[in-house]
Symmetry: C2
Subunit: 379 residues, 2 copies
């Protein structure tokens, strides 16, 4: 009888109508009906990525598409910058090293954004660097890296810019072509409101050119194979049919709502939640470029953030996230992206207030709710 | 209003109750509830694989797990035998070559099974061969390779036996531990009656030992990473939650039915269908070790098998499969594995009779149906 609320920054809740769309009887993945569905998924993704590039679809978690952007662009020994300002930034280094590439680590203090001039300096110093790997939204810290500016930095160099937008796509406007983003990666389970299981990679002309000389091994995640196959609306391997049906339903929802309205509503939820944090006298963990997709909040002194997360989970069946690695115990994180309403947000605020009070934090109960209501009322 | 019938050898139909089990609200992939589900999935898989080995779960098509068995066992330059008696056998060579390994190809005429003594001779001649890659059921030809006997051959050599049982697991008894199969791979979308999206790999002690010295790159498909993580019932990356819920429901269905009964019913459907083929005066493409999981049938002289497939698809919305590569146009294939009843089988037989008659083949209409009914009646 527990009424579960999913308010962690992914996977996010899936609309019930989309769950039912995926419960339709299976159709054959090589039938003309499915080819037509595949074509519509490809077109729909291009609209959300705002690109004329091919957007490849993989059956994997987002990490699979991240890995594909190393395996298909580089050769063993190649150098690439990994911008590390959180757990997902660190993953770039791990993948690069797994493939025998040289990770040039640009460490950014957690909670901060990379400075484009630092990347520019590194590229100038070593023109043999072939790629810059970054997160649009570093989910572990709630910080947006300045990818528009990074694209300006890499533009006239030999390096491609690879953007992990798993958590960012659909949260705020990321116009792939207008900004000149060479590779943009995303996944189904965040702002796209789907279960995990699909990953995406938009591949621009500079990346396509670099791909030709890549010598890292790839098969399941081969871009060349999938470009050829998906170019005629077929996956190279067996596609997870129900997820494609779900994604078409999501595209309908997004069309009804409009992408700009989705970005705006996400921003309002974020603003309301962050107003509550201020009312409690607490600080965001994101010291600059705080994302609208989620809020990362520092727990009060003397309170373990994991106890806040546990309180919500155990007493109310509300799932928010704690901190990861060095941020563990220090922060809790609440999502604003995807199928999460303003009242879900108020529920999270109420629940956190009850937890903070229960854990002995001294603040005015209801102050966060009131601050958020004010924002929602004005919007 | 078309009533679609899926009778191709994968993806196979998913039971409606399982589709609805997957339509439940999403839960968090790091919640204790999901960890418990992950544990039950691991246990359930061990029962079907009949093994005490770890059975890893990947979010990918079966090909991803096939690739993992190259990337995690071998190093560039290593030699491995690829048993190629069909399209999926050829895939082993493609994967080995993608990873810079040396594929020692053992070509088997399509429609035939590999001779274990040929593998034994190759291993004796070149003891540096590190692995033998084979299909338990080569879906493109409908032939079972003799994997029990192959395990006897590899047992006392330095080579591991890697069995692709994507189409075979759940079709007939494959006791992993009793037969000493080092690696067994499978997928969700065949006899396991699930949509595509999950792949599995059972990893035995000899393979675990070989894994330690493997130098091929791997990250998303890393066995070491997943063994550590799944050992505590967590995927290393974001798990496709709904598919896990579906798989638990399938395990309940399999438990109710009993694995042995499932093998037996599959065999009866196969026998009935093959009796129909004989009644039509047609031949199986599988000249030996014909699988019970599907039937691969040679079209009559002068009739393109693709026209039979097209007739069923276009006129009746019944999906069977044609031949692939060198078998294209020559054969059509009908599945008996998974959630396919005897009446689905009779429907396929009726539809094929109507197609054969429509395409001008001279035979006694209804003869196949009668032959199959006789088998079902006796069973």
């Amino acid at each position: 009888m527990k009424k579960v609320s999913l308010l962690a920054p992914g996977p996010t809740p899936v609309p019930p109508r989309t769950l039912l769309a995926m419960a339709q009887p299976l159709i054959h993945h090589r039938s003309s009906d499915f080819l037509e569905i595949f074509g519509r998924v490809r077109e729909g993704l291009k609209k959300i990525f705002k690109t004329d590039n091919d957007v490849l679809v993989f059956c994997s978690s987002g990490t699979g598409a991240m890995e594909s952007s190393v395996a298909n662009l580089l050769s063993p020994g190649d150098k690439a910058i990994a911008i590390r300002g959180g757990k997902f930034g660190e993953r770039w280094t791990e993948i690069l090293e797994a493939y025998g590439c040289q990770a040039v680590n640009l460490d950014v203090e957690w909670g901060h954004a990379v400075k484009p001039e630092d990347v520019a300096a590194m590229l100038k110093e070593d023109p043999s660097i072939k790629a810059v790997y970054v997160q649009a939204l570093e989910t572990s810290t709630g910080v947006n890296h300045p990818i528009k500016e990074l694209a300006q930095v890499t533009k006239d160099t030999g390096a491609v810019l690879v953007v992990d937008a798993v958590s960012a796509l659909g949260v705020y406007d990321i116009p792939t072509d207008e900004w000149g983003l060479d590779v943009v990666i995303s996944g189904s389970q965040k702002a796209l409101m789907m279960p995990p299981g699909l990953a995406f990679a938009s591949i621009g002309p500079k990346a396509l050119e670099m791909m030709k000389s890549s010598k890292c091994p790839k098969f399941y995640f081969s871009w060349a194979k999938e470009l050829k196959s998906q170019g005629i609306n077929k996956g190279a391997f067996t596609s997870p049919v129900p997820l494609f049906l779900g994604l078409l339903d999501i595209f309908d929802l997004i069309d009804e709502m409009g992408l700009d309205n989705i970005y705006r509503e996400t921003e309002i939820k974020s603003k309301a939640f962050k107003a509550a944090v201020a009312a409690w006298g607490l600080e965001l963990y994101s010291k600059e470029n705080a994302s609208t997709g989620l809020s990362a909040v520092e727990a009060p002194a003397g309170i373990d953030a994991q106890d806040v997360v546990g309180w919500l989970k155990n007493k109310y069946a509300i799932f928010i996230a704690g901190g990861q690695a060095q941020a563990k115990g220090k922060i809790f994180r609440v999502a604003h992206m995807g199928y999460i309403s303003e009242f879900d947000t108020l529920q999270a605020i109420s629940a956190i207030e009850m937890a903070l009070a229960g854990l002995g934090y001294d603040f005015e109960m209801g102050s966060g709710v009131a601050a958020a209501q004010k924002i929602f009322g004005e919007a």
